[in-house]
């Protein structure tokens, strides 16, 4: 029911949506998120990850989502390696009987993934120079909406509260 996959191959979001929870007629709502590499000043992206811990963190976030909302299925597929603008970095699907649970779970897992799944991104500019992407404080704020990164939540065991870190 809860699946995670890290892949070097191109992600086909449409094919994932097509196959997702398709044989469960108790599903009334499917929310999908597709995160894509934007173009503009960026000519390429490279994603590095910590194998093992990545899957573990994403699984933990899906387990947490499944405890919070009545889900029927959830799937995360994340790309690593070299990507071009327009390509999909991550796809998240959440299926439930009703839409509130699917929306919440999909957004929750994305918010969690952004701050707690060990991926690091660098971008190549139009002159061929590579630069590591800085973590956005906004992502930490968004994650806090769910009580993540605070001791009040089960997820605290997976995320260190950086403000309180020594």
């Amino acid at each position: 029911m809860l699946q995670v996959r890290i892949t070097q191959e191109r992600i086909d979001a449409a094919a994932l949506l097509d196959a997702f929870a398709s044989d469960d007629d108790g599903v009334g709502a499917v929310v999908s998120f597709t995160g894509k590499a934007r173009g503009g000043a960026v000519s390429a992206l490279e994603l590095e990850h910590y194998p093992g811990m990545t899957e573990r963190q994403i699984e933990a976030s899906m387990d947490s989502a499944a405890r919070r909302w009545p889900l029927r299925a959830m799937e995360v597929v994340h790309r690593v390696g070299l990507l071009e603008p327009g390509e999909t970095i991550v796809w998240v699907g959440a299926a439930s009987a009703h839409r509130a649970a699917a929306f919440n779970a999909c957004e929750f897992v994305m918010d969690f993934l952004k701050i707690a799944a060990p991926f690091w991104k660098r971008e190549r500019d139009r002159d061929g120079r590579w630069q590591w992407v800085e973590a956005r404080d906004a992502d930490l704020q968004r994650a806090r909406r769910w009580g993540l990164g605070t001791s009040a939540d089960e997820a605290a065991t997976y995320i260190v509260d950086r403000d309180n870190a020594s």
């Binding site: 910590y50 952004k114 690091w120 590591w132 997976y158 260190v160 950086r162």
Partner: protein, 83 residues
């Protein structure tokens, strides 16, 4: 014992891991940061001391007062930027 490094920590040091003798353990995370830092130059030492750089013990993020034991899987890395 191998201490894993990722992203610009790996890049700054030019290696994916730092090897430490087993008799360095058990050790607190803050002491381990200093010890790993000695493997590199000033820039690397500074990074290792940065509170924004995270430590994971057995694939869980750990605070500076946590203890690393011999045989643990330990990694240091910058804040995550996936998705």
């Amino acid at each position: 014992m191998k201490i894993l490094l990722f992203a610009f920590l790996r890049e700054t040091l030019g290696r994916e891991a730092v090897e430490l003798p087993d008799d360095a353990f058990p050790i607190r995370v803050d002491r381990l940061r200093a010890l790993v830092g000695e493997a590199g130059d000033d820039a690397f030492r500074e990074l290792m001391a940065d509170a924004n750089v995270l430590c994971a013990i057995n694939q869980r993020v750990a605070n500076d007062d946590a203890t690393v034991n011999a045989g643990d899987e330990v990694a240091f890395f910058p804040p995550m930027t996936g998705g």
